[in-house]
């Protein structure tokens, strides 16, 4: 198979893994306007919850579901116990970023205190690659791609055709107006945090399965790529996050296939900067920069 086609195939796999986390990140940001750096530690935490379940002999996909639910609960708790009180005090968006960084550090160090400074892997059956039209993919990767596609479709349809989805979109455009129109802001925000947490849980297990091993810092280590995908697509746009993930995934793999693999991440960020120079708001989104955070 041609190198280019192969790199494109691998790029799609990488994009599928990134897309779930990128959509989760951007969905939560678009509704709450909180640029949540602690998202990486939520991913790590849920990844370890899946590990605990998986270690007791439970199938990895059921473990992923448990991680998803825990991610939802953790995210809601994080917002109500930490972020919302600060927002109620009228903290600026910049100060909120600092709060999320501090929260992320707390979580990461707590996780490290519990699990120690070592690496973990899920128990999964040995994987062999299937040749799909010349592209070598494992069953696990195919399942992850399928999960990503289903989640993206559900997110798109949910945002477009459900009441809560409409409310989320309303909040993301104009919080005050949405509130004035009778949208139950707090409930919608809670649902958003829950949905974002669920996707963080799924995204973390998909990511940790792909990297084969993980530690107390893995979620945070990959946060920058997740944020890059979200920013590239347009922060606040779910569709944009998918496209952003695709661009990042393809850039990384094509660069590694043709040029110097040492510079694959550099290439991804060069693409990011070039796109933002042409479209500062990202590929899809209108900026939501003037809104305050919503807790």
């Amino acid at each position: 198979m041609a190198v280019f086609e192969s790199a494109v195939g691998f790029g799609i796999v990488t994009a599928a893994i990134l897309a779930v986390s990128a959509v989760a990140f951007t969905l939560q940001f678009s509704v709450t306007n909180i640029f949540n750096i602690a998202f990486g530690s939520v991913m790590t935490g849920t990844g370890f919850i899946a590990y605990a379940v998986n270690s007791s002999g439970v199938n990895i996909w059921i473990s992923m579901a448990v991680a998803a639910l825990s991610g939802g609960v953790i995210s809601v708790a994080m917002n109500s116990l930490i972020f919302a009180p600060f927002i109620r005090h009228g903290l600026s968006r910049f100060a909120m970023v600092i709060v999320t960084i501090a929260t992320g550090l707390m979580c990461e160090n707590t996780i490290q205190a519990v699990v120690g400074p070592t690496f973990y892997s899920y128990t999964v059956p040995a994987e062999h690659a299937y040749n799909l039209g010349g592209l070598l993919l494992t069953a696990q990767q195919l399942v992850i791609i399928a999960i990503a596609v289903v989640l993206m479709t559900m997110t798109h349809l949910g945002l477009k055709y459900t009441r809560v989805g409409t409310a989320m979109r309303g909040l993301s455009v104009n919080t005050s107006l949405a509130r004035a129109c009778g949208i139950p802001t707090r409930r919608v925000v809670a649902v958003t945090w829950f949905a974002s947490g669920v996707m963080a849980g799924i995204g973390s297990v998909a990511l940790f399965l792909d990297t084969s091993t993980f530690s107390s810092t893995t979620g945070t280590d990959f946060l920058i790529v997740v944020i890059a995908a979200a920013v590239l697509g347009g922060v606040g746009s779910a569709e944009g996050a998918v496209v952003g993930a695709l661009v990042v995934g393809l850039a990384i793999e094509i660069e590694a296939a043709y040029w110097n693999p040492e510079l694959k991440e550099v290439t991804a960020f060069v693409v990011l900067i070039l796109v933002l120079l042409l479209r500062p708001q990202g590929i899809f989104s209108q900026l939501a920069s003037e809104r305050t955070a919503v807790g």
Binding site: T14, P85, N109, Q112, A113, G116, T213, V225
Partner: protein, 449 residues
């Protein structure tokens, strides 16, 4: 309608409330971050005790390695050398009447954090007499600081910069990375591989041995089918893996961190086969093995891994003393048996014993005094008694004899730049232990250098 903005106007009382909240949160966060990591908790707890001990005349060796971040295993690894040494030294009555204490200090993993941490360490401890520290990531930044403070630092960095440096307080027991790279190439030749690939991470630690490994492969006229330098910590290496697999090497000479190695080898394994792996001592570290075993399985790793490490006789008296002390140090070293074959831990153990013997010989715990006695307890000299433990060395010095300490890593002979360096051997993991497969002769390594 009035548009809400990020800069919402707030009243004075609100501002006060916010300031209080931020202050309370900041204090809470600081407390939690400092208290979260167990190693750091232990470190903090020792601070008060340290002051008390120094008053009663104890001396301190700082374990200046990472206790947080991605390389948080480095600190416990060095601790697995320091605490057993502390045990044997204090059991023999301490150094010139002083009890010796190992003090964990978080170097935090990068020079930007390591420099202030080193400055704090130097400024805050009056009883600091030596340091274990300066890994490949931060050695160039922190070694000059300890040099300026006249405190000996025993480093595990592999950087070639220190092979001919003039830092008189810098000491290195293990061979530099350049020698390691040549030994890995020599190992490929010795094992009979003719088609070889090289795979190195792009971090400072791995890049230390990459140039000499590649040069060695060429010098030995092996067929270098592909040479890859990969960005560490990536989500995937599928494109790189496919290129390497297409080149069909019989063996891969490799050094990369645990996460990178695991991801790469897992993807390589999915393509069907994993060639022989010729790795460096990092592959003997528990964290590396745990990560890679999780990725490709224990049997596949053990069947393919050939670790090229500094040669040390695991049957020597010095090594046996180390193991006994290590296993007895479970209180300070959790799961001590995991470090038994870890060369860095063994070298750190020898480092502390050497510093203690040098103090005995110098009749002084002053770092600027005993530093010049270090080679006098390690390098061979006429009439010197060979000793393998601290107790033996101390007794010989008390009788006025010259000594040569042959440690757990074997003979340690420092050159004028304070580099020791050992011979190399190929080791394989069999039946739960690392076993010597073959010794690389100096002519074999020289041919690759």
């Amino acid at each position: 309608m009035k548009r809400e903005t990020g800069r919402r106007l707030i009243g004075k009382s609100d501002a006060k409330k916010i300031r209080s909240s931020v202050l309370v949160a900041s204090l809470g966060v600081t407390a939690l971050v400092l208290g979260a990591t167990p190693a750091m908790g232990a470190f903090r707890g020792q601070d008060a005790a340290r002051v008390a001990r120094s008053r009663s005349g104890s001396i301190e060796i700082a374990i200046f390695h990472d206790y947080s971040g991605p390389n948080a295993a480095y600190g416990p690894e060095a601790g697995a050398g320091c605490f057993p040494a502390e045990r044997v030294i204090n059991a023999a009555g301490g150094v010139l009447g002083h009890q010796l204490t190992c003090v964990p200090t978080d170097a935090k993993g990068d020079p930007a954090d390591a420099v202030p941490a080193a400055n704090r360490l130097i400024a805050s401890s009056s009883s600091l007499v030596g340091v274990l520290g300066g890994g490949s990531d931060d050695a160039t930044a922190v070694v000059p600081l300890f040099q300026q403070a006249h405190i000996p630092i025993f480093s595990t960095t592999g950087q070639s910069t220190f092979s001919h440096s003039t830092f008189s307080y810098f000491w290195r027991i293990l061979s530099p990375d350049s020698a390691q790279g040549s030994a890995m190439a020599a190992a490929a030749k010795k094992l009979g591989f003719t088609k070889v690939a090289t795979l190195f991470g792009n971090d400072a630690a791995a890049q230390g041995s990459a140039p000499s490994a590649i040069a060695g492969v060429r010098k030995l006229h092996l067929n270098l089918v592909i040479s890859q330098t990969i960005a560490i910590g990536q989500l995937s290496y599928r494109s790189e893996v496919q290129k390497l697999a297409s080149a069909k090497p019989q063996a891969i000479i490799s050094e990369a961190d645990p996460q990178t190695s695991a991801t790469y080898l897992s993807e390589l394994s999915q393509l069907g086969t994993v060639p022989a792996l010729i790795t460096d001592p990092v592959s003997q570290e528990p964290s590396w093995r745990k990560a890679v075993i999780g990725a490709i399985g224990k049997s596949k790793l053990n069947a393919n891994d050939y670790a090229v490490v500094a040669y040390s006789s695991m049957t020597s008296d010095a090594y046996k003393t180390y193991i006994t002390a290590l296993l007895a140090s479970a209180k300070q070293v959790p799961q001590p048996s995991q470090w038994e074959a870890d060369l860095y831990s063994v070298a750190d153990y020898d480092s502390v014993v050497i510093m203690a013997l040098a103090m005995d010989l110098a009749h002084s715990v002053s770092p600027s005094v005993y530093n010049s006695y270090i080679t006098k307890v390690t390098n061979p000299s006429k009439g010197a008694v060979v000793v393998h433990t601290y107790a033996e060395g101390k007794a010989a010095i008390a009788k006025g004899k010259r000594i040569q300490y042959v440690g757990a890593v074997g003979s340690i002979v420092f050159d004028r730049w304070h580099n020791a360096g050992q011979g190399f051997a190929i080791e394989r993991y069999k039946s739960g232990n690392w076993a010597l497969s073959s010794i690389l002769t100096s002519s074999e390594i020289k041919a690759a250098a």
